[in-house]
Every structure is written in structure tokens, then in C-alpha cells.
């Protein structure tokens, strides 16, 4: 029997279908919203129980939150009477007029009112620098780095502290406060910690025993103690260690403490990046005759820093949250201005504290969450470029 005969034989059989049956739709209970619910919420009795508990929990918590922040909230008023249950004869939620009135204080602290445009300019310049650096397709990012790490610090120092010679009235740092101080402390930490952290990381991996030992001691010492004690050290010991006339003011001392602390943590992050670079890269760089600093600047650090960007940003998130600790050494950052404002008799009500903390929470949440989204996007991007 030849091949053709066989085919013919099959074709003649009446009970063999010649066409495919069109696929039937899956059972209704397995697709669409119902299927999704069954799969993700109600797959086992235990899961059904969990789902019910969580739904009840959310049904209690979410309306409470909305009620407090929006429905029962007070939107206008001039003093505490507007937010007092005993005066208004209704349930009172968040006391927003308190926030409207104190908003300038939360942003600028006691910075002289006619000079506050300087703070606005500083914040705008900072925003430009941040966008320039974070936006990966921005033009001339090398110029952006110079702007951010050299021009911006000098310009903002002159702008904020003042310089009588060019007509900027000097403003004592005691008057600074609120978001301004939070941003200044965070930016100083960010700008200073990266270069020092890189140097410390290179020192820790150096072949020179003295350099390595000193780096290890510094890094392990700072990472072993709480930031509060570093701030206390900078606050009370630093004035002892310098001649009396050079004694730095309170804000500068806190900035030094923050910079020391952030550098040690940054050093460990950078070191992890350096360790991820294969040895062949070092050997290749040396084989083409590069000196140590050329090798680091042209070959090693660009690769190491690139893979560490997500971790660097995560460290910055930690640093941003840690800036609140300057509160403890008596500096008026955002949290402290809120603390001061909430106990002011003019606005003291049972809901003032919670309202103030809600404002702080929104501020930190927006910034930190934004940074962590950026870190995650960078991570995804790096993973993609690795796959090639």
C-alpha cells in the first residue's frame, strides 16, 4: 500500500472529521470577573475567611480615614474655635485652617518675610538640578553634574545666608526652618555623602594598610552607633575640638553630623558596587597602562556606580527620613515646626496634632515614595540592559 492509497483510505472514512472543531469558550466560572474572584480571593475556605476579614477591616478603616480627612474636616476658620467640638456641636475631623495659616511657617520657618523669595529661588534651582540629573535623556548631563555638585552648593549658600556686598541681607541660620531646613539638610547629605563615600569605599579596598585601616575604622564606627549619638557628638563635642572663635553654628554642626553618617553608609553601598565589577576590568585597565585614578575614573567607577544607582537612591531615601532627627538637637526642620505649631494655644484642639502629623506624613510619603519608584524604574532599566 502506497502513501497515497493510505491517505485516500482515511479520507473516505465517514466518521473522521476533516475540519477542526472551533474551540469552546471556557466555563463561565473560570473567566472574567467571576473567575478572577474565585482564583484570587476565594480559592480555599481559608482564603474565603481571610478575604472576609480583610474586607471588614477595610470597610471600617477606609471610611474612617476619609471621614476624618475630608467629610468631617473643617475647611475654614480663624482660630481653634472653628475646630472645637464643643463650639461647633458636630463631629470634627482634620483642622485644615490651622494648616493654611501655618503653611508659610512650615515652609520657611522664621525666615524674614521680605527675604522669602530667596528660598523660592533656591528651591527652584534645586528642582532644576534634580530633574537634570534624574532625567536620563536630558541634554548635557555632564554639565548637570557640575551644576548640581559645584555651582548649586555655592550659589545656594550665598543666596540663603546672604552676602551684604551684593545686596543680599545676611540671614542667621537660627531663623531658618520648616521644609527649607529639611531640604537643606537632605541636599547637603546627598551632595557630600557621595564623593566622600566613594573615597572611603576606594580606601577600604586599597592595598595600602594604613589607608584601609583608617577607612574601615571610620566606616564601622559610624555605622555601629545611632545617628542620634553622632548628632550629639557633632553638637556638643565639635565645639570643644575647634578654637573657640571658629565654633560653627548649630545648623552647621548638625549638617556635619549628617554628612559623616551618610558618608559611612554610602561607602558601603559603593563598595558593594565595586565588588560586583569583575577582576578582568581592573586587569584590562592596568594592561592598557592606565594609572590608578584613570582606571577608577574611566573604567571602574562608571560601571560600579551604574549598577549601584538603585541602592544609592535607597540610601538617599533613608537619609531623607533621617533628616527628621535634627529635631532632637534643636533644629527647626519640618517636623519640629509642626511640633511647635500644634501646641500653640491659638490652635490647640484635640485634632490639631493629628492634622499636623498628617501634613508631615503626606510630605514625606510623596518624596520617599517618589524616590523609591525612581529606584525601581532604574532597576528595571538596568535589568533590561543586562539582558541585551
Amino acid at each position: 500500500m502506497t502513501m497515497a492509497e493510505g491517505d485516500l483510505a482515511v479520507a473516505e472514512l465517514a466518521f473522521v472529521r476533516r475540519t477542526n472543531i472551533a474551540p469552546r469558550p471556557p466555563p463561565a466560572a473560570m473567566t472574567g470577573a467571576v473567575g478572577w474572584l474565585r482564583e484570587n480571593l476565594l480559592s480555599t475556605p481559608f482564603n474565603v475567611g481571610l478575604t472576609i476579614v480583610i474586607v471588614l477591616l477595610l470597610a471600617w478603616a477606609v471610611p474612617e480615614l476619609v471621614k476624618f480627612l475630608l467629610i468631617d474636616a473643617v475647611w475654614s476658620g480663624t482660630d481653634r474655635d472653628a475646630c472645637l467640638e464643643s463650639v461647633q456641636h458636630r463631629e470634627i475631623g482634620a483642622c485644615w485652617p490651622f494648616v493654611w495659616e501655618r503653611l508659610p511657617y512650615f515652609i520657611y520657618g522664621s525666615y524674614p518675610i521680605p527675604q522669602r523669595w530667596r528660598v523660592d529661588v533656591f528651591l527652584a534651582m534645586l528642582a532644576i538640578g534634580v530633574v537634570w540629573l534624574l532625567w536620563l535623556n536630558a541634554p548635557r548631563r555632564d554639565l548637570g553634574a557640575i551644576y548640581f555638585f559645584v555651582i548649586l552648593p555655592i550659589a545656594s549658600f550665598i543666596l540663603l545666608t546672604g552676602w551684604a556686598a551684593i545686596g543680599l541681607q545676611p540671614v542667621d541660620t537660627v531663623l531658618w526652618g520648616g521644609v527649607l531646613v529639611t531640604i537643606v539638610v537632605a541636599s547637603v547629605g546627598i551632595v557630600v555623602s557621595l564623593p566622600i563615600g566613594i573615597l572611603l569605599a576606594l580606601g577600604r579596598r586599597s592595598h595600602m594598610p594604613a589607608v584601609r585601616t583608617l577607612s574601615v575604622i571610620f566606616i564601622e564606627f559610624v555605622r555601629g552607633v545611632p545617628l542620634v549619638t553622632v548628632l550629639f557628638m557633632a553638637g556638643v563635642m565639635l565645639p570643644l575640638f575647634v578654637p573657640e572663635q571658629l565654633s560653627p553654628d548649630k545648623l552647621v554642626r548638625a549638617l556635619i553630623g549628617i554628612a559623616i553618617f551618610a558618608s559611612a553608609y554610602m561607602a558601603e553601598v559603593v563598595r558593594a558596587g565595586l565588588q560586583a565589577i569583575p577582576k578582568g576590568q581592573y586587569e584590562g585597565a592596568m594592561a592598557v597602562g592606565l594609572r590608578y585614578w584613570q582606571m577608577m575614573r574611566l573604567i571602574i567607577l562608571p560601571q560600579a556606580l551604574k549598577v549601584t544607582i538603585p541602592n544609592i537612591v535607597n540610601t538617599y531615601i533613608g537619609l531623607f527620613k533621617d533628616t527628621t532627627l535634627v529635631f532632637i538637637v534643636g533644629i527647626f526642620d519640618l517636623l519640629r515646626t509642626i511640633e511647635v505649631a500644634r501646641i500653640d494655644p491659638k490652635w490647640a484642639t484635640p485634632v490639631t496634632s493629628t492634622t499636623g502629623y498628617a501634613v508631615a506624613a503626606i510630605f514625606y510619603l510623596v518624596f520617599c515614595y517618589g524616590m523609591s519608584r525612581y529606584a525601581r524604574a532604574m532597576e528595571a532599566r538596568l535589568a533590561k540592559s543586562d539582558r541585551r
Binding site: 484570587n40 480571593l41 480559592s43 482564603n47 481571610l50 478575604t51 480583610i54 474586607v55 477591616l57 477595610l58 592595598h207 595600602m208 594598610p209 594604613a210 589607608v211 583608617l214 564601622e220 564606627f221 555605622r223 555601629g224 552607633v225 545611632p226 545617628l227 542620634v228 549619638t229 550629639f232 557628638m233 556638643v236 563635642m237 565645639p239 570643644l240 575640638f241 575647634v242 578654637p243 573657640e244 531615601i317 527620613k321 533621617d322 527628621t324 532627627l325 529635631f327 532632637i328 517636623l335 511640633e339 500644634r342 484635640p350 496634632s353 493629628t354 502629623y357 508631615a360 506624613a361 514625606y364 510619603l365 520617599c368 515614595y369 523609591s372
Partner: protein, 397 residues
């Protein structure tokens, strides 16, 4: 010919300042000189400044009378009779108390949240994810202030205390609990508990040996539970409930008797546990995800049920990944407990670096001692961690 060869064999002549060895030594000498100069300058300035402001130096203050009160003391302490040294120990014990309890609560909550994030229940995973993202992105200090000022200090005052069934009271001065008081005969229960612990360990060792020898398994969990809980409970019932409670009594201005949990302590414990739990949850999640799916599939194909697969295959491998970052979270919690100073819980920093420093003015000594304590805790932990890591490291060829 031979002279040419020997000339080539001789190392190339380099000017001495281009010799890497010389350079490295020179760099290090310069660095050491700079550090020594800084230290010397700082020390001489400090001596000058201290002499000018008439501040004593040295550790003589350690044995002077403290003269200030501390709101929570685990060991005996009185403002008039106790020294600064005693105040130091009181503060250190308070730090260790809140850190120890915080670690326990944070671990429990963190594991629950971390596993929930991997749950197949969509709602549970999302809620756990929302918890982690929110808590991690808010400063701990803000959370502590919220718990303390907006929650615990907003409770009713002492005359309108919330009475909790069972004889406890809750108000803005703290949480007042009944204090268990042992009556005669309670010693027998303690002995039973000790005996239970010893017997449980012995049974575990015996069961293990037998399993290795014969392959037979013993119900270790049930026997241990019976020995640890059942035995003391039985003795407790047999000796006629030798335990009483001293109930807090609500007065007009005060509550007397019972145990008082300070609102500062409660706020710090809540804040630290909830904050650290979010980080522990991420550690746990990463650890579980790090165990490849093939491991559990292989275990199933060997015939293990889901329970033993989790217990014998997945968890041991996940713990290898989880434990090092978990320890560093424990260290962070201990260091973060120093934020107590912001809400006035008498921990080491508040008592010693706060009050003692203000009273004695001896900044250098006080800050150095405080830092030393935290350093010792950190270094001891990382030492233990290194030992653990070297024991747990995968034995590679």
C-alpha cells in the same frame, strides 16, 4: 652577548619617586601625619576649651550622686542615693528592654506581613504591600510622635480611665495592669516548668537520635507542648492555684498598685515594632523568593507533603538568606530605640547623653561611653553573624 642578557635581566631603573612601593609608603605616611595632626589639634583645643569653661574631665562623675528621678527603673534607683553610674545602668536596661520586646514583636509582625505579601489571596497581598510601602516611607520619628502625642496622650485622663475587663485601666498616664503575685506553693510550679524544659530537650535529643538510627519519627511538637505547658499547668491546678493578682485601684488623682506601662514605653514599642516589621517583611519576602521553585517541586516528586516540604526544604534554605539581613534589622531597631529621647522614654541616650550630660557638662566622656555601648552591641552582633555565616555558607567544591 652575555652582558646584554644580564642588562636585560636587571630591573628597569625607575626614579625613586616613581617607584610604586615608595609612593605607597609616602602616601600612607602623609595620611597618618594628617590624621595625627587633626587628633592632636582637636585634643589640644579640647583641653583649652575645657579649662576655660572650668569643666572637669575624667570619669570621677561616675560615682557622684545623680540627684534626678527616672520614670521607669528596672533596678533599684533613687535620686538621692544613686550615682550617675547607676543611672547609666538604669538607662541601658531600659534600652535593652524596649529593644528586646521590639525585636520579638517586629519579628512576628514582619514574618506575617512578609508571607502575606506572597499570598495567593490578592486582597491580602495588596494590603500587606500597602502596609510595607507606607510604613517604610514615613520617618520613624514622625511615627513615634504620632503614637505618643496623637494616640496615647489623647486618651482620657485619669478620672475617666477606660476600664478594661480583667481589672486593667487605660488612660493618658499609661496602661495599668494587674500584677501577678505568687503565693506559697508557687515554687512547685516553677520547678515543674524547669523540669519540663529539661525533659523536652532530652526528648528532642532522643527522638533525633532514634530517627537517625531507625528512621522512625516521634511526635516532638506535641510532646514538647505537653511538657512545657501541660506539666506546669497540671502542677498549678494540683497545688490549688497558688497565684493571686494585685489589681490596680483607681483613686481620684492616681492609680495605685498593679504594673504601670508608661505611654512613652508603649509608643516607642509600637513605633519600633511597626516600623521594623515593614523592613523585616521585605527581608522575609526576598528570602522566600530566593528559594527556587525547583526545590519544592523536587521535594514533591520525592513524595513529601506540603507541610514537610516547607519545613524541611524551603524554610532552611530561605533562612540562610533571611538571617544576615534580619540581624542587621535587629541592630537597626536597637539603634533606633535611641529616638526615645524625642518622646521622653528614659533610655540610655535620654538618661545618660541627655540628663547626665546636661548636669555634668562632660560631653566627651558621656558621648564616648554612649557610643561605646552601641558599638559593643553592634560589633558583638556582627561577630556572631560572621560565625553563623561561615557555618551556614554553602559548601562549594
Amino acid at each position: 652577548m652575555s652582558s646584554e642578557l644580564s642588562a636585560r635581566a636587571r630591573p628597569a631603573q625607575v626614579v625613586f619617586y616613581n617607584d610604586p612601593k615608595f609612593r605607597s609608603i609616602a602616601y600612607q605616611l602623609v595620611l597618618c601625619a594628617m590624621v595625627a595632626f587633626l587628633v592632636y589639634g582637636a585634643a589640644s583645643n579640647a583641653i583649652d576649651n575645657l579649662a576655660r569653661s572650668h569643666i572637669a574631665s575624667g570619669f570621677g562623675f561616675w560615682n557622684s550622686t545623680a540627684g534626678f528621678d527616672i520614670s521607669q527603673t528596672l533596678i533599684e534607683y533613687s535620686p538621692r542615693g544613686s550615682t550617675y553610674g547607676r543611672a547609666f545602668w538604669v538607662g541601658l536596661l531600659n534600652t535593652l528592654l524596649v529593644a528586646g520586646l521590639g525585636i520579638v514583636f517586629a519579628t512576628i509582625l514582619g514574618f506575617i506581613v512578609g508571607i502575606s505579601r506572597l499570598s495567593r489571596n490578592w486582597l491580602l497581598a495588596k494590603v500587606a504591600g500597602g502596609y510595607v510601602e507606607t510604613i517604610r516611607n514615613l520617618p520613624l520619628l514622625l511615627q513615634l510622635l504620632f503614637w505618643y502625642n496623637a494616640v496615647l496622650k489623647a486618651l482620657p485622663d485619669i478620672r475617666e480611665s477606660i476600664a478594661i475587663p480583667g481589672g486593667a485601666f487605660l488612660n493618658n498616664r499609661g496602661f495599668f495592669l494587674p500584677l501577678p503575685v505568687s503565693k506559697s506553693g508557687f515554687g512547685a510550679v516553677e520547678i515543674a516548668l524547669l523540669a519540663g524544659i529539661v525533659a523536652a530537650i532530652a526528648f528532642y535529643v532522643w527522638a533525633r537520635k532514634r530517627q537517625e538510627r531507625t528512621g522512625q519519627q516521634a511526635p516532638v511538637l506535641w510532646v514538647t507542648l505537653a511538657l512545657l505547658i501541660g506539666l506546669p499547668l497540671a502542677v498549678f491546678v494540683l497545688t490549688g492555684f497558688p497565684l493571686g493578682f494585685e489589681f490596680p485601684q483607681a483613686g481620684r488623682f492616681n492609680i495605685t498598685g498593679g504594673v504601670e506601662v508608661l505611654p512613652e514605653f508603649a509608643a516607642l514599642l509600637f513605633g519600633l515594632s511597626i516600623y521594623t516589621a515593614a523592613f523585616i517583611a521585605e527581608v522575609v519576602r526576598a528570602g522566600i523568593l530566593a528559594v527556587s521553585r525547583g526545590q519544592s517541586e523536587a521535594a514533591y516528586s520525592l513524595g513529601l507533603r506540603p507541610g514537610p516540604t516547607l519545613r524541611l526544604v524551603v524554610i532552611p534554605q530561605a533562612m540562610r538568606v533571611i538571617i544576615p539581613p534580619l540581624t542587621s534589622q535587629y541592630l537597626n531597631l536597637t539603634k533606633n530605640s535611641s529616638l526615645a529621647v524625642a518622646i521622653g522614654y528614659p533610655d540610655l541616650v535620654q538618661v545618660f547623653t541627655g540628663t547626665v550630660l546636661n548636669q555634668t557638662g562632660q560631653a566627651v566622656e558621656v558621648v564616648a561611653i554612649t557610643m561605646l555601648v552601641y558599638l559593643v552591641i553592634s560589633l558583638a552582633t556582627s561577630l556572631l553573624m560572621n560565625i553563623y555565616n561561615s557555618r551556614m555558607a554553602l559548601a562549594e567544591r
